[in-house]
């Protein structure tokens, strides 16, 4: 399976915080309720949790991207 990383679109993100509830080992919330996500590739044992967080984001702001992909900004 190729290596993927979790990324958030900061503009779509509304700070609901559901992702941090569902995958607390991978996502934590900053002082204002917005997600801080680990940069590394998601390890196999976390994949289901992280995918669950992605599909439950009310703003659809989370995505899994291939590790070599460029980030959201140049």
């Amino acid at each position: 399976m190729k290596r993927t990383r979790l990324a958030v679109d900061p503009i779509l993100c509304d700070g609901h915080g559901i992702c941090a509830e569902l995958a607390p080992e991978w996502i934590r919330l900053d002082d204002w309720g917005y997600p801080i996500i680990r940069h590394e590739a998601v390890p196999p044992h976390m994949r289901r949790r992280v995918a669950w967080a992605v599909s439950n984001c009310p703003a659809l702001a989370l995505r899994l991207e291939a590790v070599d992909a460029g980030g959201v900004r140049p």
Binding site: D9, P10, I11, C13, D14, G15, D30, D31, W32, G33, Y34, I36, G70, V72, R73, P74
Partner: protein, 443 residues
């Protein structure tokens, strides 16, 4: 008190009635002698600069000439212009957006260029259109710059009167810093708000009307007709090997006064400052690049710093938007930085939580330190906020604030120590670096 030597300056202009901008003379290419009358009209422009695209230069060759010349962007990012042109050209360009918004509030070079050499900018935009296959040109100018707006609008109208229809139009943009960002401009032209979109679609791929769009700073564009006319060799005859050519520099002199001059890339900062009338011995520190920039000590500026990426990288800085804002010895760099951070906080587009809440929080804590009333654990809190907001916005605004603050802590370390100890700041209270304030709510 930074004094000005009158002999080094010539023509004076009042832009927008509030800021005095003086174009200093020098062996410039974009600005020569600062004579406003020289090339404002199309006739005078043609007499001075000739035709932009000589018959010997077909459209397909424009990109190649620019690549050989090694021109890079003058809007702050310094991306290779040839690569940008190629990226749009290979997708079939739709439109060229000449970015004259000059969101960097301490910069005036783009406004001056558009006021003095509107036809040079237009020539450049049309060349870029020819090189990318674009059929239209849009010139974006901030709505609070009436002189530049009037100048470019008149230039476009004049072309039409002469029978040259460049399919160009001038569009006013909101006077916000983030409005000049590439994706924000595209969004504005597509009818949306002038705020960045963090989508992975870059304008060269999907921009105005979802078609490939070239967004280029007006100063960068103004170089194109010079390159096509005189050749890459001529362009490279000034500047350094890695960074050829010249660039416009805005030097802030305090009390709302600015000097705009043209310098070769790689020129020493001390030489540039001296030409602007600023004796380097009187400089405590220099803000390099713009409010989106980095502080340098006066010593580094005087000694080894040069106006190029390689010349500034050892100091953790980069040319940015070409602004140099020196502060004298009796000014408080910490207070200036706190003021600038407050400005940053007011410029947030409000789209991303970390920026919208983090920048004001950061500015608030720093403001307390600057006022001599730091809260307990202020520096740890500043560290915490800086870490938390860096890289987490939809654009680079929060990164600029963090980078500026980081450099301030190094350059003004003594001031930080004094303020944190609650000692009063004996520096002059008036702000040193003048810049355009945040727009009113709703703009």
């Amino acid at each position: 008190m930074i004094t000005l030597e009158a002999e080094t300056l010539q023509s004076r202009f009042w832009l927008d009635g509030t800021t005095e901008v003086v174009a200093a003379p020098g062996p410039g290419r974009l600005i020569e002698g600062g004579d406003a009358q020289r090339s404002r009209t199309l006739v005078a422009h043609r007499r001075q600069y000739g035709a932009p695209q000589p018959a010997a230069v077909p459209s397909v060759a424009i990109g190649r000439l620019v690549a050989e010349a090694g021109l890079t962007g003058r809007g702050g990012a310094a991306f290779s212009t040839a690569r940008k042109l190629a990226a749009v050209a290979e997708r079939g360009g739709w439109t060229v957006v000449a970015n004259g918004t000059e969101g960097e509030p301490a910069s005036r070079k783009d406004q001056l260029l558009m006021t003095l050499r509107p036809h040079l900018v237009l020539d450049g935009a049309m060349l870029a259109a020819a090189a990318t296959g674009a059929g239209s040109v849009v010139i974006c100018i901030s709505e609070d710059r009436p002189a530049a707006l009037a100048s470019m609008t008149a230039a476009v109208a004049e072309r039409a009167a002469f029978g040259e229809v460049p399919h160009a139009r001038v569009v006013a943009t909101p006077p916000r810093y983030v409005s000049g960002e590439e994706t924000a401009l595209v969004r504005w032209l597509n009818g949306g708000p002038a705020k960045p979109s963090a989508g992975r679609r870059r304008p060269f791929d999907r921009g105005v009307r979802n078609r490939p769009t070239l967004v280029q700073n007006v100063e960068t564009l103004a170089n194109l007709p010079l390159i096509t006319r005189h050749g890459p060799g001529w362009y490279r005859s000034r500047g350094t090997q890695e960074e050829p050519g010249t660039r416009l520099v805005t030097v802030a002199l305090g009390a709302g006064r600015l000097v705009v001059l043209e310098a070769a890339c790689g020129a020493s900062l001390s030489e540039v400052l001296t030409r602007a009338g600023v004796p380097t011995a009187e400089v405590q520190a220099v803000l390099v690049g713009g409010l989106y920039g980095t502080w340098l000590t006066g010593r580094s500026a005087a000694a080894a710093a040069r106006l190029s990426r390689s010349g500034l990288m050892p100091f953790g800085a980069s040319p940015g938007a070409g602004v140099l804002a020196p502060v004298p010895w009796d000014a408080c760099g910490l207070r200036e930085t706190a003021r600038i951070l407050t400005w940053y906080a007011g410029e947030s587009a409000g789209q991303c939580g970390p920026c919208r809440f983090g920048l004001p929080a950061l500015a608030g804590v720093l403001g307390e330190v600057a006022a001599g009333r730091p809260r307990p654990g202020a520096m740890e809190l500043i560290d915490h906020y800086s870490e938390d907001i860096e890289g987490r916005g939809g654009c680079r605004l929060p990164d600029g604030a963090v980078q500026l603050l980081r450099s301030a802590r190094v350059v003004f370390a003594d001031d930080f120590t004094r303020h944190l100890a609650g000692q009063s700041c004996r520096c002059r209270p008036e702000p040193q670096i003048g810049f355009r304030p945040n727009p009113a709510v709703g703009q």
